[in-house]
Amino acid sequence: MKKIIYILGFIVMVLAQWFIPGSMIYEQEITLETGTAYKFKTRPIDPSDPFRGKYIVLNYEVDEITAQDLDWNSGEEVFISIANDSLGFAKAIAAHKTSEVIKGDYVAAEVRSYYDGKLHFDLPFDRFYMKETKAKNAEIGVREAQRDTKDQICYAEVFVHEGTAVLDNIFINDVAIKDFAKEE
């Protein structure tokens, strides 16, 4: 009897250990397949995580919006409606407290600050994991390219579906960052 309980417990644990990563994958795959692709102008810097390896942190140009509602607290969740501008890059349209009222595509973000009618926010998809030999060079490469010629554009391709956003790739003038960055 005791052994059966142990085996049942083991099966429950195994299922949970497959279900949690599986559901993570499912949510991302659904967004990648059915979501709309947006280009967010960005700038990468390179830190590392002890378990997940090297990644580049992305600072997005889309990080503020005019908001009439004064009741915004730092760290609070905010839903940002997005659309493409005339050049095909993502822009923030409006900020909402809840997602139910939004008709088009939106992303969940975190309020950084609210000052003088401007709401500053952090987009959640700010990490792009890279091969450890390329991450640093990617950061340096983008910085140098943008310094040499101002028309170098670095952007993140993000798929958005019902509030879930999946960062798929980073491009510098339409060249994928992993091809752009040389190995160390």
């Binding site: 052994k3 250990q17 949690i20 993570m24 994958i25 995580d49 997940r52 390896g53 959640p124 091969k131």
Partner: protein
Amino acid sequence: MQIKLKNDLKELVAAEVISEAVSQKISTYYETQTPQKPKSLFTIFGVLGALLIGLGIILILAHNWDDFSRTVKTIWAFVPLLIGQCFVGFSIIKNKGRTWKEASGTFLYLAIGATIALISQIYNIPGSMGSFLLSWTLLGALLLYLLGSKAILLLHLVFSTAYACTVGYFDDNQVPWWYLVQIIWFIPYYIHLLKTASKNNFTHVLNWLVPFSFIITLGAFLKSDDNILALAYMSLFGVFYALGNLPKFSVHKLRTIGLRVLGSLGLVFIVLIASFEGFWSPLSKITYALHDVSVVLILVSTATFIVGFQWFKKLPQRFNFVQYAYFIFALIFLTISEENTLPLILVNLLIFCLGLFTIKIGAQKNNYGILNYGLLIITILIICRFFDTNIDFIIRGLLFVGIGVGFFAANYYLYKKQQKNNISTSNTDQL
């Protein structure tokens, strides 16, 4: 068998105290008494091996192999998990020995982390370190009871503490409530170990690590970093000291009772900090957050409950002043006003009493360590006052001479007392 014992036996045979045959019998007896050692060593090496392989896999995966497609990387992410689950399943179904269970459990625990890390990496999932550690510990929690594994208990404690620190101090700066769930989860197993293997080395190690984890994480539960932090820690050390004085622990050697040692050291450390004028000066202007006051109240109530329980059950022990220090300190906090002289005097008196009472316990137990610890408390108190008061040099000098004489006198008293006891014991033996 120990080399020392072998040498002693040779010496005894050479001196014709025991015969060669008796020496042989003693050797055989001790050899049969210690068959577990190689097995436990094998378990330790098994766990270490699994730990190194698991950590190695995490590092290899952290390289981020961007030459592979997303599907290939996703399949690879589940390989360590699958291997670990097969080993653990085999250990449970075949009811394998301790070594198998400890090693396979350790490997699977680390494989869970590797899988979640790789999935986050492949899909660039932004989650914080806190949420990553929480998912990891929750998915591995059941392993503790399925395998009854001590290595898992250690990993669970270490990662839960890391989670509380990450959420409370670094990443999110929020209260790590899930830490309490993680602790409640392993407490039944810890109590089981205290009941069934209280003399085991691993239990002794846990008796130190568990209070250490609480000491590290308590600050994460408090929102302000002012003086109430000292009161909260004082109450926590009060809880430790009261728990360490329960009869369950009092039969053990002092070095194995981490709760009592850390409780005592912590109490003394906090009151010494509070004995400086600067500690009390900003207090009259501060209003405390309700959240922090609640944490302090819970800790004070817990310590009072344990002390009250001992008192109510009339558990065999002498009056112990140190046990009430947290409560006296809390009362001193209530005396706060614009004038900070009164709490300052009371705290200095409290330290002095703690020192005196510790000396008394040392003398009663014939324990040089405790006696000198008490003297050390008074010495540190005097050194602290040496720096922050305007007492005359002559009085300061006399105080130091006085405490020096006190050291000699107290140790000499204990030495004489021990000698007297030895003489009376040998007289009783002769009678």
